[in-house]
């Protein structure tokens, strides 16, 4: 398929014409591959930029305040107010599951964003069949194992989690509760005919609580574990024995376990395995293949002076 045709319609309908023309030019000439395009970034009064295969590419097109307002309005389908809550949280969900990071001038008192000056439009890519090693490890003992996937930002944790959740709920035949707080995980085509229950927009803590109380999942999948509430929700879910597969930012297991909330979960024996995710750079470009480093909980307990 022509690269230009792969750009999501909501994106081509929303971007300023001058930026879209430049983007088409790059895609049509082959200077960028659509599959490498991760983000389109707009900044008022400054040139737009792309993130391709983890690298920044500055464009010639400068975005005026009027163009930024028009772009935001179109991304919100003409109803910016309907996205007020999520904009206050720093993002908005456009049509087709397109997630857009939003920031600008905030009114401290009300928390509302008075003027949006930056947009980070993340391009979802339907990447399948990348979780093989993790999938097999997860179901090694028959019952799904609890896993924490870690890597630095931008390596592909979300892509891996999505593929893993789709495979577990599809081919694996497991009831999966997918806690998709920011609407980044779920792509409808990947979950067709699956046993996946989707909780979009719920906080991770609340999503985990609702999933365990009402959906009787066989696996819970969520992205980007971080705060104490999420850790407490996971501890509570563990009482029901539901395995959790989650992700967190860290470059190594050591760095991961230095985070107090993750440490708390480790000491409670929540995760059976920690999966380090990596991607090689070939000729300056990130490879499409993932590499995995599996560290079992028992190995960590024997090596590290922690209470298990």
């Amino acid at each position: 398929m022509n690269g230009r045709g792969q750009l999501p319609v909501v994106l081509t309908d929303s971007l300023p014409d001058v930026l879209l023309a430049e983007l088409y030019g790059l895609v049509d000439s082959g200077r960028i591959r659509f599959g490498d395009l991760n983000e389109v970034r707009l900044r008022t009064g400054r040139p737009a930029s792309l993130t391709c295969a983890g690298e920044n590419r500055v464009l010639a097109a400068k975005i005026t305040p009027a163009q930024m307002e028009e772009c935001v309005t179109r991304l919100c389908r003409g109803s910016v107010y309907a996205h007020g809550e999520t904009i206050r949280e720093g993002y908005l969900m456009a049509e087709g599951g397109l997630r857009v990071g939003v920031c600008g001038r905030c009114d401290e008192g009300s928390g509302s964003v008075r003027e949006i000056t930056s947009l980070n439009i993340r391009i979802p890519h339907m990447v399948r069949d990348v979780c093989g090693g993790v999938y097999r490890r997860c179901l090694q003992s028959g019952r799904a194992a609890s896993m924490l996937i870690y890597s630095p930002p931008g390596v592909g944790k979300t892509t891996l989690l999505r593929d893993l959740a789709a495979r577990l709920s599809g081919e694996g035949g497991r009831r999966v509760a997918l806690i998709d707080t920011r609407g980044e995980l779920y792509i409808p085509e990947m979950f067709a005919d699956s046993l996946c229950d989707l909780l979009v927009g719920y906080s991770r803590a609340r999503g985990i609580e609702i999933a365990t109380r009402t959906l009787s999942p066989e696996v819970i999948v969520c992205d980007e574990l971080g705060d104490a509430d999420e850790a407490r929700a996971i501890l509570s879910a563990q009482n029901t024995g539901v395995p959790i597969i989650a992700s967190a930012h860290a470059a190594s297991v050591g760095e991961l376990l230095r985070r107090p909330n993750i440490r708390m979960l480790h000491e409670a024996g929540i995760f059976d395995c920690y999966v380090g995710l990596g991607r090689e750079r070939i000729n300056g470009r990130l490879s499409r293949c993932f590499s995995f480093t599996f560290t079992d909980r028992e190995a960590l307990c024997s090596d590290m002076p922690v209470r298990c």
Partner: protein, 160 residues
Amino acid sequence: MLGYAGALLIFAGGTLAGLAASGMYRLRAAQLEAFCKLIAHIRAQIECYRAPLDAIYIGYRNEVLEACGFLGAARTSDGARALEACRGRLYITGDELCELEKFFASLGRHGAGEETSHCAYFEKRIGDFAAACRGELPKRARLCRTFGMLGGFLLAILLL
């Protein structure tokens, strides 16, 4: 004989023209009231439910706005474009149309608080236009009918 028939026809034509003119004025009042109700509905939907505009248009019913083509166009595009598309079927004045254009051009671009204030302002503006039009309607309708009949009568006399 033919002359009398012709004069009668001209008189009838004049009367009908007068009635049509008064009908257009009545329609103008109805369209202004319909837009005013729509703006009030939009304000309520935003205030209570933060409903997106496309859903509001899809769920809204109003004979007058359906008949002039506004709602049909709004459901597939947006209010500003819908107004442009049905311009030829609106009987409102240039000033009234200008106010509606300002309303729809800015609708949906701001937070909920600003949107409800925006709607409230234009609901009053269009409501004032509608009330003024409705107030003048009996006098205008009478004038149109009278001039129509008078004009038809004079032309009939001239023919005879």
